[in-house]
């Protein structure tokens, strides 16, 4: 909820999610090391630290790939919505796994030098002009710095102090971190790994992330071309309005509108959550309140206000039902303005 800096609270679901996540990480690391040793050709001698470097590196990259797929996938299927709600924990965990990877690399490849390991990382290989000899570790280090900034500011204290706009802009740095990681692997592991698994995994991951973001991004920007009924926008036939869920309508100008059905009531509010701009229309109604799928901020359907003691307000919109079809007026009311819902069965 949205009071002071305690927006995201621990729930039994979050605790279960974290346990599954930590269990999954342990299984991956143990499994990766076991398979690496089992499939090692005779004569090769891979140190346990090297196996761990590969395990933590691949895990951090796959976790970040998954995190970047959560947003667009949640727009395509409801199954991904629980991950939206827990994305922050996944992000911080990914940073910690990447930090272990970087620590092991510094210790193993730079720790035996007389030069400071961090300095050695930057000066031991100055071949910036070479493609297959490029100092790829530097790319990973910069990506890690970006991930650190994001993990360190993931608490709501920073969201409240920086403001949702700046906070969101800062956290879009994850896209550049991902690009740097793709380059880190392409110019690093791919150059000396004989196995096609790494190339395939990297290519599949990058194509999936880029493809999903571009496809859902295009769909999300397309305005709803359904102006009808004296300038009101057609939302959907009543039969298509699922209970406790919303349809999102995008006017040609202004923000998207989330039109919710709660039993026999239809109400519309802004699709933009006051917390971090989350898509309210992808959430659902919990305890009579519209609940953001990102971090659980809640708003009352009838006036767009968060229930006491919270103070957030979002714009409301007038709705009406004509011939069993729901329409919404694209002109917003001021945030927090009471707006009577349209009642199913009571239309003129």
């Amino acid at each position: 909820m949205s009071h002071d800096y305690k927006a995201v609270q621990w729930t039994p679901f979050k605790k279960r999610f974290d346990l599954w996540m930590l269990g999954g990480i342990a299984v991956y690391l143990i499994g990766f090391v076991a398979i690496t040793y089992a499939s090692q050709p005779q004569g090769d001698s891979l140190a346990p630290v090297q196996a761990l470097i590969r395990a933590t590196g691949t895990l951090a990259f796959l976790l970040l790939t998954f995190i970047l797929c959560i947003g667009p996938m949640a727009r395509l299927t409801d199954r991904f919505k629980p991950f939206l709600y827990n994305r922050r924990h996944l992000g911080v965990t990914t940073f910690l796994v990447a930090l272990v990877h970087a620590g092991l690399v510094l210790m193993w490849y730079h720790g035996f030098s007389e030069t400071n390991a961090l300095v050695s990382l930057f000066i031991s290989n100055p071949r910036y002009e070479s493609l297959h000899g490029f100092p790829f570790e530097v790319l990973g280090f910069v990506a890690l710095l970006i991930m650190f900034l994001m993990a360190a500011t993931s608490h709501d204290f920073w969201n409240a102090n920086l403001g949702p706009g700046l906070w969101k802009a800062l956290h879009m740095g994850v896209y550049f971190a991902y690009g740097l990681l793709v380059a880190h692997i392409a110019l690093g592991a791919i150059q000396f790994e004989k196995s096609p698994i790494y190339v395939t995994l990297l290519a599949l991951s990058a194509v999936t992330v880029v493809g999903l973001h571009l496809v859902t991004g295009m769909a999300g920007m397309r305005p709803s071309d359904r102006t009808a009924n004296e300038g009101w926008l057609k939302v959907a036939p009543l039969a298509e309005m699922d209970d406790a869920r919303a349809k999102i309508v995008r006017p040609v100008s202004g923000e998207a509108i989330a039109v919710f059905r709660d039993g026999n009531k239809i109400s519309a509010v802004s699709n933009v959550c006051r917390h971090q701009g989350g898509p309210l229309g992808e959430g659902k109604i919990v305890d009579g309140c519209i609940t953001c799928p990102w971090h659980g901020f809640q708003y009352r359907m009838e006036d767009g206000q968060s229930p006491p003691p919270f103070t957030e307000k979002i714009a409301t919109y007038a709705t009406r039902i004509v011939d069993d079809v729901v329409y919404v007026n694209p002109d917003p009311n001021a945030p927090g303005t009471p707006q009577a819902p349209s009642l199913i069965g009571a239309e003129a």
Binding site: H132, I190, Q191, H213, G277
Partner: protein, 49 residues
Amino acid sequence: MKRAHRRTHFAIWAVLGPVMLWLLVLAVQNRPAQPVNESLPDALIEEAR
């Protein structure tokens, strides 16, 4: 999500995506025939051999 944020989001991926994939193709095409990790200190490579 705000409309402006969606546009920025899309623009970043429209630029970053092709760059990322181009780099990936270039990196795979230019892999050395005999894979070596030239960014490692020579002494370590010798020791590994």
